[in-house]
């Protein structure tokens, strides 16, 4: 398979997928470290130290990073690993958010209990959207999903759905607090919950990609015809990947809704889908750590873009104030040129470089 890749970027693709498996141990260490962090912080008030060494606000930021990482992971599974371009993953994010919100607001379910329902709903939704998408490739699939992204807010406002979605007003959700009097602030508790959801999802995706199924997905991306010849049921795999991808992004949407305690149609515009695309490209295509880098990037940019843009306009003495989205756009175009494998690919290259020099000094 690998030797027959003739596409222009076949080489980089091979490198990223090999890198994805090799780098993952570090990712688990990182995740475990992140998981231990709140435990330590939670213990701090018990031993009488300062209760808010890490502010609640920082926990909110961290949770958002993780949520965006999950969303980007979903997109990456579909676009990076399976080669189906989606510009409309905001739609599945919105679907997840709304299913969770509706169950909480109308039926008073605990937020976390809604997640299995969210997962199932988004899987079916993605699978169904994936069926017609099977006939589309490249630009056309991008076009179909782009249209979906534009239409999302309007679909959510549809009059017959108002009973469920709350129409233009959206739905308000109760605050999620730590149960049984556990000594966590809501932000710390949310962070823990998000982490408890994120780790199995990443673990599941990693194992999926490491398996026969994962190899089939990548074979379909690189050489669909050869894959079909080897007995891979392309349409079945593609549709299921669409479902899984939508499921993962939908779960992220549900968590996001729980964090902001509010859903409304206009919270899910085209820009949201573009944000995920930016996260995926910046973090690194077809790379699990790339999804994490992407999530971090999205959150950091969301927080600092305004000040970056302002300082950029003043240092360059521009007559206008650049808007953050300009930076997004420029970053996208530059990355396609300079670092097509994103941050993850850049780090991999750096590691290879260091490994090579290390080996050379070892032999001499």
């Amino acid at each position: 398979m690998a030797t027959t890749t003739t596409t222009a970027n076949g080489v980089t693709r091979k490198q990223t997928s090999r890198f994805g498996a090799g780098f993952s141990r570090n990712v688990w260490l990182l995740l475990i470290a992140l998981a231990l962090l709140p435990v330590v912080v939670a213990l701090l008030p018990l031993v009488g130290g300062p209760a808010e060494v890490i502010s609640s606000y920082t926990f909110l930021q961290l949770s958002l990073m993780i949520v965006y990482s999950i969303a980007v992971l979903g997109l990456n599974l579909l676009t990076g690993f399976n080669g189906q371009i989606s510009l409309g993953h905001g739609a599945f994010f919105a679907a997840g958010a709304y299913v969770a919100a509706a169950l909480v607001a109308h039926h008073h379910w605990p937020h976390m209990v809604t997640l299995p329902v969210v997962a199932l709903f988004c899987f079916v939704l993605g699978y169904l959207f994936g069926l017609p998408a099977l006939r589309l490739e490249g630009h056309y699939l991008a076009l179909a999903t782009f249209s979906l992204a534009i239409a999302v807010p309007q679909i959510l406002k549809y009059r017959h759905l108002e009973g469920v979605t709350g129409g233009v007003q959206g739905l308000n959700l109760p605050k999620i607090v730590a149960p049984w009097g556990l000594p966590f602030t809501p932000d710390q508790w949310m962070y823990l919950l998000v982490l408890v959801v994120a780790v199995p999802i990443f673990w599941f995706t990693r194992n999926l990609l490491d398996s026969r199924t994962g190899r089939a997905l990548m074979a379909i991306r690189d050489q669909p015809m050869a894959a079909a010849t080897m007995g891979i049921n392309i349409s079945q795999y593609k549709a299921i990947t669409f479902g899984l991808s939508a499921m993962i992004t939908g779960i992220a949407g549900a968590l996001h809704a729980g964090m902001f305690r509010f859903v409304a149609p206009d919270s899910y515009p085209l820009e949201l889908s573009i944000t995920f695309l930016v996260g995926m490209v910046v973090g690194g295509l077809a790379s699990l750590p790339g999804a994490i880098f992407g999530g971090i990037f999205v959150q950091v940019i969301e927080k600092y873009a305004d000040s970056i843009a302002r300082s950029l306009s003043s240092t360059l003495h521009l007559p206008i104030d650049i808007e953050p989205w300009t930076i997004y756009g420029i970053a996208l175009i530059l990355l396609v040129y300079l670092m097509p494998t994103g941050i993850a690919g850049g780090i991999a290259r750096l590691r290879r470089l260091m490994n090579n020099t290390g080996r050379r000094s070892g032999t001499s």
Binding site: G83, L143, E323
Partner: protein, 301 residues
């Protein structure tokens, strides 16, 4: 009945805009095989440029040609400097670049002119004519402009050597190159023409939907739908498709109203316009990707 005719007339007028935008999309698709997601915002940017010239006191009929030329240059520059190096890049890279362009034009317009809504004067004079009950002067102007544009393009491709060279470059780049056609410049030219057509479309639609950075999002979706219905490889088909989509859009909400009046059941209305466009896009793409007038592309395996 009266109302039905009115709806069809309004649909034709809107359709003219979708047709213009679809035409621009087709220009780029035919010459480079790319679907330009930034087309709508490029057109919006051009409309803002016209508005800026108007603010500076220029006559509309002087401002429009200037902006068309500027847009043409922007289009050529985008192809030469941004897309040319990605000639053999995978589809995803190109889509990502288009999305980058989309956000850049959107945010630049917001930064320069602000996100508030501006009124845009109609360039067409008010006058009386038979059928004035159904069409406003601006509507007539939009439809006529689109048809003139299509005829000009047709003449250009049919009767000029440059048009012939462009067609050759699009259909068979290798042979065209052997025959002495500078294929890469033809691609840039296609981009320039698309940007110029988009400038006209943006300027025409601005008086209808008002000027704001987000004005083209839904119109672009209808442009896509029009281009797909007509066949994304056929300029004439795209114009026909644009008109079809425009009329369809109004008829659907009209019959939605009729159904609601008769049965009291709301099914579809003005609020579902984008969902209708989405349905059109997906249906055409899956059932008849070549559209009504497009060539069926056959790929050698």
């Amino acid at each position: 009945m009266e109302q039905l005719i009115q709806q069809v007339a309004a649909g034709l007028a809107n359709g003219a805009i979708y047709a213009c935008l679809a035409l621009a999309l087709v220009m780029i698709f035919v010459s480079t095989d790319h679907i330009n997601f930034a087309q709508g915002n490029l057109a919006m940017f051009s409309a803002y440029l016209v508005w800026q010239f108007l603010q500076w006191g220029l006559n509309f009929w002087l401002a429009l040609p200037i902006v068309v030329v500027i847009s043409f240059i922007i289009g050529v520059a985008i192809e030469r400097f941004i897309l040319r190096p990605l000639h053999d890049a995978p589809v995803l890279s190109i889509v990502v670049v288009f999305i980058g362009l989309l956000t850049i034009f959107f945010s630049l317009a917001g930064a320069i002119w602000g996100h508030t809504i501006n009124a845009f004067p109609s360039p067409f004079p008010k006058f009386n004519f038979p059928g004035a009950a159904y069409f406003g002067p601006h509507q007539i102007g939009m439809i006529l402009t689109t048809i003139v544009l299509l005829l000009l393009l047709f003449a250009f491709f049919r009767f000029t050597p440059l048009g012939l060279a462009m067609r050759a470059a699009a259909q068979n780049p290798a042979s065209a190159r052997l025959a002495g056609v500078r294929v890469d410049w033809m691609l840039a030219l296609g981009w320039g023409l698309a940007a110029a057509i988009g400038a006209v479309a943006g300027t025409l639609v601005a008086p209808v939907v008002y000027l704001e950075p987000n004005m083209m999002a839904s119109i672009l979706l209808y442009g896509f739908a029009g281009a797909l219905i007509g066949g994304i490889s056929s300029p004439g088909g795209a114009v026909a498709g644009g008109f079809i989509v425009g009329v369809l859009e109004n008829l659907i909400s009209y019959f939605g109203d009729v159904v609601q009046n008769l049965t009291g059941l709301y099914i579809i209305g003005n609020g579902e316009k984008l969902s209708v466009a989405l349905l059109i896009v997906i249906t055409v793409l899956t059932l008849k990707p070549a559209g009504l007038f497009g060539r069926v592309s056959v790929k050698r395996v």
